[in-house]
């Protein structure tokens, strides 16, 4: 049966079409901005990213505050004590390094300047295991530069830059491979990114590895980047699969250093 014309339905159809046109037009404008004016796009998005981060921190603090105060105080004291211990160990190791340098008569390599960049967006906000940082080509960042987290642990490389921002491709991006070593014997292995900051690798069965072994990547020298959390052994495969948890928590990074 033919449906009689209804002005109300006709108005809603016009509104729907108008909505579709507006959404697609805004999407097209954003696409053009991203391609031709990437800094303008980042400037538009940055306040939202900062607001989102502030919301995350505020919500986390609120839930943390619900915990009994005395347990928080005890944890704070324990962490302060740990920090003091680590600072002292660091001072001892630094002094030892200097003594060895004098003894061997060599100069430490000049590493050159590094650029500190604040992070605007990180996983899980970003679904691609990328970081967006608030420093770009005008700050001295170039495509392909190495990126380090706290402690000098390499975490990725610069994938693209604009004048005042850059996108960083993390080493843990799925299907990204990195060469490294494992254990005190520095056995060579290839790390494969599995997303969310984690890695996997495979080694022949009967290789002397165990859960808790430290994994290193080059950076200069061998830099510890994670530990083995699980070893999967399949009877039909000649290799064991290692699952590696990184030392750096990419979900809580707030700044990185980028080699200039």
């Amino acid at each position: 049966m033919k449906r009689p014309f209804s002005p109300k339905h006709n108005r809603s159809s016009v509104g729907y079409v108008a909505g579709v046109v507006v959404v697609l037009a805004v999407g097209f404008i954003l696409l053009l901005l991203r391609i031709f004016l990437p800094d303008a796009f980042i400037s538009l998005a940055a306040p939202f990213w900062k607001a989102g981060t502030a919301m995350d921190v505020g919500t986390g603090n609120w839930f943390t505050g619900l915990t009994h105060g005395s347990s928080l105080a005890a944890q704070n004291q324990m962490l302060s004590s740990e920090v003091t211990t680590l600072e002292n160990e660091n001072a001892v190791l630094t002094a030892r390094t200097q003594d060895l340098t004098k003894l061997l008569g060599s100069q430490p390599a000049q590493t050159g300047g590094a650029i500190v960049a604040g992070i605007l967006a990180r996983p899980p906000l970003s679904p691609y295991d990328t970081l967006v940082v608030a420093a770009g080509a005008q700050d001295g960042i170039s495509k392909g530069a190495e990126v380090f987290a706290q402690g000098g642990v390499p975490i990725g490389t610069v994938e693209s830059t604009s004048a005042h921002s850059a996108t960083i491709h993390l080493l843990s991006t799925p299907n990204t491979t990195t060469n490294g070593w494992i254990g005190n014997d520095r056995l060579a292995l290839t790390l494969t990114g599995t997303g969310s900051g984690t890695f996997s690798s495979s080694l022949p069965k009967n290789t002397p590895i165990s859960v808790g072994d430290t994994v290193y990547i080059p950076g200069p020298g061998a830099i510890p980047m994670g530990t083995v959390t699980r070893v999967d052994s399949d009877p039909s495969s000649p290799n064991d699969t290692l699952h590696i948890q990184p030392l750096v928590n990419i979900f809580s990074l707030t700044w990185v250093t980028i080699a200039s």
């Binding site: 509104g15 729907y16 909505g19 579709v20 959404v23 697609l24 805004v26 999407g27 954003l30 696409l31 991203r34 796009f41 998005a45 939202f48 990213w49 607001a51 989102g52 919301m55 967006a121 996983p123 899980p124 906000l125 970003s126 679904p127 691609y128 990328t130 967006v132 994938e159 693209s160 996108t167 491709h169």
Partner: protein, 86 residues
Amino acid sequence: MFKNPYLSIFLSIAASIAPLFFSWPYTLMLSILAAVFFPPIAIFTGLLLDLSYAGHAGIPYFTILGCGIAVAGAFVHQFLKTRIMS
């Protein structure tokens, strides 16, 4: 509830800015919900995710996923609209 235009507008706005506020699984859920009321918003959300975070040489997975969600949302939207009208 389905005929409420304010709900449709609210969900569409929430889904469109979610890529900049929430982690991507929640953004995906919100865009699926919004696509039932206004299917094209899923394309916009996927596009914004890719524009914000994808590398230049990468495949825009979330734009493609957004198109798929928009098509599925259009079917659900049409089904619900027909059921309500009949």
